[in-house]
Amino acid sequence: MKEDDAVSKVEELMETLDHVKRYRELSSSLKSFVLIAGGSILAFILIRILLVILTLLSLLGGNSAYLISFVALMIPLAGVILGILHVRRRVNSVKGGEWKQTLAQGFPGALELLSGIDWQSKLDEISDVKQISLLYGLAKLSSYSILVFFLTALIAPPAPTNFSIAIVSLLAVSLVISLGIGGKEAVKRYREAKSLDFLLHELRSFYNEFKGSEFEIKA
């Protein structure tokens, strides 16, 4: 039945727009993620520098230095986890489905929802957030790489001879491992960015056609 088809299409549209609201929240909490994860990584680097400057490591001896470095590594690890949880909490707190009551009226409700949408601002919103998922995926991947790099450097410190080659190898290993951990998600985020781009194209075409049309009631 056409009426039901129209209602289910509008339901799909409203659910998709609810997702866009979550991307908008992801966009604003991405800054917090960078701040929390980046800050904790920076704190770890500062602690390491401080330890070296104070030559505390050599004074403390092998095992204690290793232990302090390992404990200090918990700071960026906690920072990244905290950042991810923070983003998840903010995104999950976005409410949706306020339109369900209106849509329960059937076709007239669907029509009311369609008439009430501020299309231009929705299109602007999608345009603003379409790359955000990908950026978040890359930010997570970068944090994993840095964490793995620190951990690997702690477990197998680069030899002073051929130091640059050792560092490059360490970086490559870190990248491979972090791709193993977060690569699948990065691909998923890339697909999401493509999907949002597709959505923007679809809704823009719809809006351009819809705003130019007028339903005529014959007298």
Binding site: A6, S115, E202
Partner: protein, 99 residues
């Protein structure tokens, strides 16, 4: 739609027209008060809409002062569904999973 707008100078809200027609389709002949309750429209606003719809021959008032849907009204509703489907029917939605 204000009382001035009811004098068919400006466009009425299509979703209200659709809501009124839908109730009349489902329930047949309905009193104005009952129609106002069913559609959630304030009575004076309903009267304005009904005047406009009578003018457009979408509804009529029978001898018992009950509101009835005309064939034109029923056809208009179907055309309205077709019109909306012409646009939303083409829409394809990607699968999104934010978070």
């Amino acid at each position: 739609m204000s009382s001035k707008e009811a004098n068919s100078k400006s466009k009425p809200d299509l979703y209200i027209i659709a809501r009124l027609i839908k109730v009349l389709k489902e329930r047949g002949r309905v009193s104005r008060t009952s129609l106002a309750t069913s559609t959630g429209l304030p009575y004076d606003r309903l009267v304005n809409y009904l005047s406009w719809m009578i003018e457009k021959k979408l509804v009529e008032i029978d001898n018992d002062e009950l509101v009835c849907l005309t064939g034109e009204g029923s056809e208009t509703y179907d055309r309205l569904v077709d019109w909306i489907m012409e646009y939303v029917g083409k829409l394809k939605f990607p699968r999104l999973r934010s978070g």
